[in-house]
């Protein structure tokens, strides 16, 4: 069977072959425990870990000492949010986050609510962006932590991180951002943006799965209670043997992402805009979810009105895409992110996330556009809703028998 065209770069990115090549020796001759400081295997391993740390730090303008390796962005988010909440709980018990955050941030916050913290889940506007006035008015003198993602995994919108950071710094509130989708894709500078903690994922930036990082600011110093306790690695903030090969690959991936970021951004933006223009040229009643300007170059999230999502997914099996977010697509719940934007359930059901990335070509996009135009048209011809709309019926005026 021919492999489908991969357009799901927000779920995960294929490991860059340059990263793979770089990693392979670490499984064979370059093994060693970077914590064994008394023999040469250990020294070489430690040197590689520190080199990778520097490469990751450079992407966000951080000092290498501020990078803590973790098993991935989920662990980073758990560590940052629980760690800050528990360390600073004497200063207040209020946390602000956003309804469209990644599930792991929301789940972690819900867990903290059970432990007695107050969490404000800010709504977003119809374009998916935070209203700064609503944000400001949510702050109280009990607020100890703000967690707002840099780029959304479903709709790709970029939140005003720098503005949020400035306000948090001024008020002495710790600011965490989940940058799993943004790292290596858009310029990030922890100092200019006043970011105190920042979560990174290896496999979203063409590195391996199972590795990530948490940036923790040193000046002014941000402290946290560790989530994973043990041998005291990573300056006590994250215990556990460091996975050398994964870290080496992650470092290489960060280096490549930084070197190619500007060029790749331009290329992807052009490709995405082309895709959007072509689809809307050929199909009426297509809705773009999320702001068109303030969004990741490689993300396009569209609702195909009057077509049901699952049958659309079946019709475009030759494309590897996601409906809803990857982590929840095993269930048929409409995406909570789209709901937060006020997208109606039936449109949410028919939404598809197209994730474009480093290995996406114009041919891939043309193939996708042709397939979509053909299949959506066929499904609409089969859709009683489309027929009613063509006849001028206002679907909202129909009294549907819910079942």
């Amino acid at each position: 069977m021919k492999k489908p065209v991969y357009l799901d770069y927000q779920a995960t990115t294929p490991t860059d072959p340059r990263v793979v090549d770089y990693m392979v020796p670490f499984f064979y001759e370059k093994f060693g425990n970077p914590h064994s400081r008394s023999h040469v295997y250990g020294w070489n391993a430690e040197a590689e870990v520190e080199a990778a740390r520097a490469k990751v730090a450079a992407v966000i303008g951080a000092d290498p000492k501020e990078i803590v390796f973790t098993s991935g962005a989920t662990e980073s988010n758990n560590t940052a949010i629980k760690g800050i909440a528990s360390f600073y709980k004497d200063q207040g018990n209020h946390i602000i986050t956003v309804q469209t955050e990644h599930k792991c941030v929301l789940d972690t916050c819900r867990h903290l609510e059970q432990e007695g913290f107050d969490v404000t889940y800010l709504p977003v506007e119809a374009n998916g962006l935070l209203d700064m006035e609503k944000f400001k008015s949510a702050i109280t003198d009990k607020t100890i932590l703000v967690s707002v993602m840099a780029a959304n995994n479903e709709i790709g919108v970029l939140q005003p991180i720098a503005e949020i950071g400035a306000i948090c710094r001024e008020k002495g509130i710790k600011f965490h951002t989940d940058a799993a989708q943004a790292f290596g894709k858009i310029p990030l500078d922890v100092d200019a943006m006043n970011i105190d903690l920042l979560s990174i994922s290896g496999h979203k930036v063409y590195g391996p799965q199972g590795i990530g990082a948490l940036y923790v600011r040193r000046k002014p110093r941000v402290r946290l209670n560790a989530l994973i306790n043990g041998g005291g690695q990573e300056r006590g903030m994250r215990s556990g043997t460091l996975p050398l090969a994964l870290i080496a690959g992650f470092g290489k991936a960060a280096e490549i992402a930084q070197a190619e970021m500007a060029e790749e951004h331009t290329r992807l933006l052009k490709l995405r805009e082309y895709m959007y223009e072509e689809i809307t040229k050929r199909l009426p009643a297509i809705i773009l979810n999320g702001d068109r300007e303030q969004r990741l170059a490689g993300n396009l999230n569209l609702s195909f009105s009057y077509v049901e999502g699952e049958s659309l997914m079946m019709a475009i099996k030759e494309l590897a895409v996601s409906s809803g977010s990857a982590c929840t697509s095993a269930s048929l719940e409409p995406s909570y992110v789209l709901r937060a934007l006020g997208v109606e359930d039936e449109l949410a059901h028919s939404s598809i996330r197209f994730g474009l990335g480093r290995f996406t070509t114009k041919e891939d996009v043309d193939f996708a556009v042709n397939l979509l135009a053909d299949k959506v048209q066929k499904l609409r011809e089969m859709s009683p809703l489309w027929e009613m709309v063509q006849e001028g019926v206002d679907l909202k005026s129909v009294k549907w028998a819910a079942h």
Partner: protein, 131 residues
């Protein structure tokens, strides 16, 4: 979740997609489901003077199983009398298509659509729905 080959066949080659004139007195139209629930079925039957369904058409907004269920329903309806049509059960459709448990509701919806179409036809004829 894997669909049976029969579901995939009906999904890829749906039978009897289309519309009949809903103002025709010999046509009964059933519209069931709701967009917010993810399925809407429109099923139409054309009944001749002998009370036999001589044509059936459908349009469905829904998943592959919903499309397959309504497509199969139109096949089952053609050539049956109205009385015979009322005996079609969702379990027949589910069994024929080997629907997984989470998709049984699609066959229920198809049965609802059949009943709604028959009721619409009988209402037009001034008949009471068969008691």
């Amino acid at each position: 979740m894997a669909y049976s080959t029969k579901v995939i066949d009906h999904y890829e080659n749906p039978r009897n997609v289309g519309a009949l004139d809903k103002n025709d007195p010999t046509v009964g139209t059933g519209l069931v489901g709701a967009p917010a629930c993810g399925d809407v079925m429109k099923l139409q039957i054309k009944v001749n003077d002998d009370g036999v369904i001589e044509d059936a058409k459908f349009k469905t907004f829904g998943c592959g199983s919903a499309i397959a269920s309504s497509s199969l329903a139109t096949e089952l309806l053609k050539g049956r009398t109205l009385d015979e049509a009322t005996t079609i059960k969702n379990s027949d459709i589910a069994a024929e298509l080997a629907l997984p448990p989470v998709k049984i509701h699609c066959s229920v919806l198809a049965e609802d659509a059949i009943r709604a179409a028959i009721a619409d036809y009988q209402a037009k004829k001034g008949l009471k729905a068969s008691a």
